[in-house]
Symmetry: C2
Subunit: 336 residues, 2 copies
DNA sequence: CTGTTAGCGCTTTCAC
DNA sequence: GTGAAAGCGCTAACAG
């Protein structure tokens, strides 16, 4: 049988409360007593039962995280950043994935709530009204992540997908591209991709370019990117640039161009989003938008911790920014 | 204040025990009583506190998972498979990552133990002696995953990395390749990669081929793969095939060959391991070993569940197999 | 079938 | 500074 706090108390000839105080680093314990207790803990190989502590203290030391999917490294990296940071503070992560389905998301959050997490991390800023209500009613701190919004449930750590999309389009325009088509991943609609597209559309409006069909919807796979190339070719009008909503689509498009003998960027420039490792390695290297996801995760972890200790946040929204990385896939179109 | 079980009991005019029985689906509750209790639960919007249940029942409904890193989709997919399966059974996953460090792994496991998980999932079959002891002493079921071993801590769900490496080398030999160099990822040594290499070495011995330096060590990145190509070129002796320990290395090698104008597979055949999406999309498409990771995860989930309910396992080791996928990157060497 | 009761192992007043 | 005792919300034995 595992040692419990009463065993330690008896062994150290103190009360259970004192052991608890030592465990939790309370100040009002004499040096001497503390030493005796610590020695007993050591000798009995006592490990506190965090479940019992959670019940008694009404604080579990667990944070719940909900992501759309773990298979995509973007989300996995954010989670990695969060756990890295929180582990140092004795907090554990409970994890679930929604498969990009807001209804499933709500279900998971409800289920998690029964486990009394101290806080929530949720990917994205779009959630069902029911989700928002449940979360608000629970009174648990919530950090949304990966995008920005003026109306967070509680607070948000992310970057502006809208601005990233918009600035990228402007950059392409500056570099001489005029016929830009945006490739969206329709199968997994989410606020991040939607905002990237809106940014593109805003830029188009500002620049007064491209009036015809400018958006193609594909699945967020390499094959989806390949199909986007086929679709663009079938449009029967000049297109010099494919602004893809993700690196996966962009890489798929580049590989398809390779197969079809279309020169990139000579005949078609291509951009992505995420800066996956492959983006800098592929030939031609891919112009894309880089986000420090692990950093975002660590930042979210810090905010989570601040919310736990009721610290006042300087702001409801923390912008971790993004960086446009210009590479070979968008060298100015040669020829005409 | 949230409703608690006593509130429900009062509201339904029954005892707390009865509510608990209804909650846990015990059979010995009359239809009528059950209905009344359910109605009260509904009306009071009662949600059981699983922390309290965990303490009382000595069963938390939480399973702890430890992976080396989440950023690599292989591990993330296994986790996804496990959670998918376990979520249907009301079990939640607690997650941590060790960064391929066995000492960190031990630390995490110790920390997790304090939260009284009902079981552990651990990546790999190599763990420190301390880890094995702690886990054994705790009496918690443990499922190791992603490889096979004769001496699991408790039980294991995986596939034979050794056999995969061995069979791949044999296949290459059958296809006419004679000068095969293995590229290992030395920076993140682990049992999976080690066994793949051993399989290759075993095959070489069986086939009596390649006596000189046959193994290159790189970091498991695209760049590592590129460097392996450079290293092989510098060897100054004929090498017709690069058998890479991971798809990441292999893709890096293919891209480097593209840059250097080395024909793949004409001058150099290349193989990978994992069958990432890029493997079938890259030009030339990559011969590799495919593992159904989500399936592995779901299988591990099932085993975890069986161990929880003290079901007798048919075997300590479950082999989910692998599949060699032959693609363009290993078409028989032309020319000489 | 159902109510009552005694814990699960810890934290947290409250006196001393 | 420290001990005693009352819960935290639930389950599980035990009567009835």
């Amino acid at each position: 049988m595992r040692a419990k706090i009463a065993d330690v108390a008896r062994h150290a000839r103190v009360g259970a409360g004192t052991v608890s105080r030592v465990l939790n680093g309370a100040k009002n314990v004499s040096r001497h007593t503390r030493a005796r207790v610590l020695a007993s803990i050591d000798e009995l190989e006592y490990v506190p039962n965090l479940v019992a502590r959670g019940l008694a203290a009404n604080r579990t030391g667990i944070i719940a995280a909900v992501v759309p999917a773990l298979g995509y490294s973007q989300h996995a990296e954010v989670i990695q950043g969060i756990t890295e940071f929180l582990h140092e503070h004795g907090i554990t992560l409970m994890i679930g994935h929604s498969g990009y389905d807001l209804e499933v998301e709500r279900e998971i959050i409800s289920a998690f709530l029964a486990r009394r997490p101290d806080a929530f991390y949720i990917t994205g800023v779009d959630h069902s009204e029911a989700t928002r209500r449940i979360l608000r009613d629970s009174g648990v701190p919530v950090v949304e992540g990966g995008n920005l919004t003026d109306t967070p449930i509680d607070c948000v750590v992310g970057y502006s997908n809208f601005e990233a999309g918009r600035q990228l389009t402007h950059l392409l325009h500056e570099r001489g591209h005029r016929h830009i088509v945006h490739v969206n991943n329709g199968s997994e609609v989410n606020d991040r991709n939607r905002d990237r597209q809106r940014g593109y559309e805003a830029a188009c409006a500002e620049l007064k370019i491209a009036k015809k069909k400018r958006v193609i919807t594909g699945t967020n796979t390499l094959d989806g990117g390949a199909q986007a190339v086929a679709e663009v070719l079938a449009l029967g009008r000049p297109v010099d640039t494919l602004q893809c909503g993700t690196d996966v689509l962009a890489v798929g498009a580049i590989l398809e161009c390779q197969r079809r003998g279309i020169a990139v960027p000579g005949q078609l420039a291509i951009t992505g989003f995420d800066d996956l490792p492959i983006a800098s390695a592929i030939v031609p290297s891919l112009t894309t938008v880089k986000i420090d996801r692990i950093g975002l995760g660590r930042r979210a972890g810090r905010v989570l911790l601040q919310r736990l200790s009721n610290e006042v946040l300087p702001s409801k929204a923390i912008d971790v920014g993004f960086q446009i990385v210009e590479r070979a896939s968008t060298k100015p179109p040669t020829g005409r």
